[in-house]
Symmetry: C2
Subunit: 225 residues, 2 copies
Amino acid sequence: MPERVIRGRFTHALDELNQGVLTLGSMVDKAIAKAMQALHERDLDLAREVIENDQAINRRRFDLENLALDVLAMQQPMAKDLRFIMATQIIAIELERMGDYARGIAEVTVRMGYGPPSQSVGDLVRMAELARAMLSDALDAFAQRDAKLARALPARDDAVDALNDRIYQTQVDLMIHDPAMVNCATWLLWITHNIERLADRVTNIAERVVFMVTGELVEMDVSTF
Amino acid sequence: MPERVIRGRFTHALDELNQGVLTLGSMVDKAIAKAMQALHERDLDLAREVIENDQAINRRRFDLENLALDVLAMQQPMAKDLRFIMATQIIAIELERMGDYARGIAEVTVRMGYGPPSQSVGDLVRMAELARAMLSDALDAFAQRDAKLARALPARDDAVDALNDRIYQTQVDLMIHDPAMVNCATWLLWITHNIERLADRVTNIAERVVFMVTGELVEMDVSTF
């Protein structure tokens, strides 16, 4: 096959990887939005839909992985292309795990059923909105190869952490003053944790975009609990 | 450079990647063991050591990533080598995150300080032992290219989940009956969650080993909350 044709297929495959990451990101964003809506409105059918759709997110990630292996086998990529291909894989993993958190939120919603609504649900919804705005900018940073935008993302995790702390304190106080709320409050804390992890994952994606664009590996600070 | 010399350097680099994953695995295993010892003995200095050492785990993962990029740039690898190189990266990420969980356990231990010991600590230590035994076998499966051993791992997560459920119930009961225990019990539940995630990560590593050896992508079932 002429070199020109191989190069053309290679470029086409890189475009496909690029588009694949953005599509996966959009699927995950929808999953988070639906999981939060299901929680807010106690819409258990919607929650079940999120749980089922997680399979589609997983499949999409596997497709991206196979595509990356094909691309790598196609020709010997240059340093920048290699970083891009590796980045698509790692970002795809992060996105897939974000999908798992959305599923986790939906699973807890189903388990809670129609139990007492909690005073922290508004904060939880806001927290998820912040995480989704971060995700949207992280995907833009990826699409535009914008290291500056990516570098600015971890600082925004502080607002997520502040809401996290407030919800945590509210729920702990609730449990201390009303033992009947312990089960429900514990569920809410799991959901809080899942949303907090969503934002951490976005930070990982941002870190990866910086590396992809600049070749510089930095670990942005990520909390673990 | 003669083809033979390039091939030799390539093979050497693959060996280095292989050894790098095993070394990282051993560092993470030590971090988990120390974090659990710190929790069990309320040894806050040891907990702080785990927190500090997490940086070394992160650096090691970055080194592995750079090595993989070098290897990929060196020559056009065959399908099996590509799967191996990709596997080392993904396993390295999983291991690094396991290191983050160990750090998380140590951070909670420091926050709890010398507060009341909990009746679940024994179960937590057992749970971590199970996760470490799984990690040890996952690393063996990687080192020996043993898909059968890797496939057997997810089933062992059930025992971890059973302990998880028992600890969860114990701590929730404790909170319901003694509001003074809410803070401590909530901390313990975070630690439980971190250990449960450790076992999930091992399942991810096992999944990756199966793919590396067989070329077959399977998602083993992983709980998210």
